[in-house]
Amino acid sequence: MTSSPAVSRVLDVEAIRKEFPILHQQVNGRDLVYFDNAATSQKPLVVINALMDYYTGYNANIHRGIHTLAEKATKAYEDTRHTARAFINARSEQEIIFTRGVTESLNLVASSYGRAFLKAGDEIVISGLEHHSNIVPWQIVCEATGATLRVIPILENGELDMEAYKKLLSPRTKVVSVNHASNSLGTINPVKEIIALAHAAGAVAVIDGAQTGAHVAIDVQDLDCDFYCLSSHKMYGPTGTGLLYGKRELLEKMPPYQAGGEMIKDVTFPKTTYNDLPYKFEAGTPNIADVVAYKYAMDFILGLGRENIAAHEHALLTYATERVSALKGVRLIGTAAQKVGVVSFGVEGIHHFDIGQMLDSRGIAVRTGHHCTQPLMDCFKIEGTVRASFAVYNTKKEIDQLVEGLERIINFMK
């Protein structure tokens, strides 16, 4: 295998890299290698410029103002909703609710849907691969309603045990909430099948798409999920925003999550009527600037083509898996057949913190620790892993640099 930086026949990765100013810097005396994309991706100039344009050109509060700037800001904000609808193929823009990101989206569903429709004896099914943000909100709902949490176990390779999942389902199952891809291991879950099984049992299906938004094409109608959650900052967009997709008929019957301006139709002291979707769930002045810029991030992804991005990242994943697993003492954690660009591993006799620090001293950014998935780490009987996660701007040459850094520390410690 060659070490040429461009691995895709379609994407010009060197040209893409030029769109990301942050990548062109030295960290600790070496060219930055950014492999912490599962935590947050870097931002292209179109996104940075969109923020700049908003604040220098048309910052105003949205929806209620009649002046020109308010009109412009409102249009830009709603343009993002328009793009988001197409991005995930929702039926209507009313099904797109802007939130602070996946964490808030999951909390919204757990709190609003969960408290309104769950009762003692009901069951919520999550999986052993979940991020704490898809565990704790449901635990809180369980405490409030008397529902219980059931967990789909995982197999040794980091895939979900689908047979066990089928056995967990029963008429008591009211919610199934799983991630589309695992942040710790990269496993892509068979969500379409998971959703169909959930529906057959009479449950609603919630999908955490934090790790798929920038990497996998998403079609909520094809998946037939009831809710889908995205974070902008993991999709080349700004931090602090994201979305919740919900089927309209479900969103209609759910009570508001937060109350304030924007989410109301009429307020009198005896009674308040709520605004229509999606505004019922967007109380207060939203994160306008970041939502506006989020559109440019989605357009950036669509412009490159999700299939092309996936092909490039898959090539990186294959190359990294091959090279890293060949190193002495390395144990790969998560070897599912279908994965996004995440390589998680441990090295025998060397603590992951030491590896992380050592790589950082060579300008390589990886994540070390439990990745907010402590139950998953317990399952593998480890404290944490070193995780390298890839984005469209990463190259094979950077993987070579990672391997070189790992070789140095492994040789030193032996």
Binding site: G29, H351, F353, M358, D360, S361, F412
Partner: protein, 144 residues
């Protein structure tokens, strides 16, 4: 060597690394490897230093009025860090440890190459060592 002299020596050694972070990290790990082994029996939950992200065990005792620490960590870099403190404080009186003003971290720019989290953990180790010194001092005063 007194505490000041050891701090000067450490500062001198690190200045040879010329600010190269990778070399500094390797040097710390090397120092950690040279730290005398801590008896397994001393690696108790009680001896774990609270406030460190890595696991650090620390135990102290006195001999002829001087304090001696043993320590270990589950991470190599942190073991190197605690070894610096063991080197500075071992063989000193409780009073000297209590009143020690540790300046070498700033002088070698340690926070730059170990990061804020580890620096906080390092502060917790120093505090723990000073608490040992205070306890030993109190014990000696009661005896005398």
């Amino acid at each position: 060597m007194n505490i000041e002299e050891t701090q000067d020596a450490i500062t001198e050694e690190f200045s040879l690394l010329d600010g190269d972070r990778e070399m500094a990290v390797f040097y710390l790990m090397e120092l950690g490897q040279k730290l005398p082994e801590m008896p397994e029996a001393d690696k108790t939950e009680e001896n774990v230093v609270k406030g460190c992200q890595s696991k650090v065990w620390l135990s102290g005792q006195t001999e002829d009025g001087k304090v001696y620490f043993t320590a270990d960590s589950n991470t190599a870099i942190t073991k190197g860090l605690v070894s610096l403190l063991v080197r500075i404080f071992n063989g000193q009186t409780p009073d000297a440890i209590l009143h020690a003003d540790l300046t070498f971290m700033n002088r070698i720019g340690m926070e730059r190459f170990i990061g804020t989290q580890r620096s906080n953990g390092f502060g917790a180790m120093i505090k723990q060592m000073k608490l040992y010194a205070l306890a030993f001092k109190t014990k000696m005063q009661v005896k005398s």
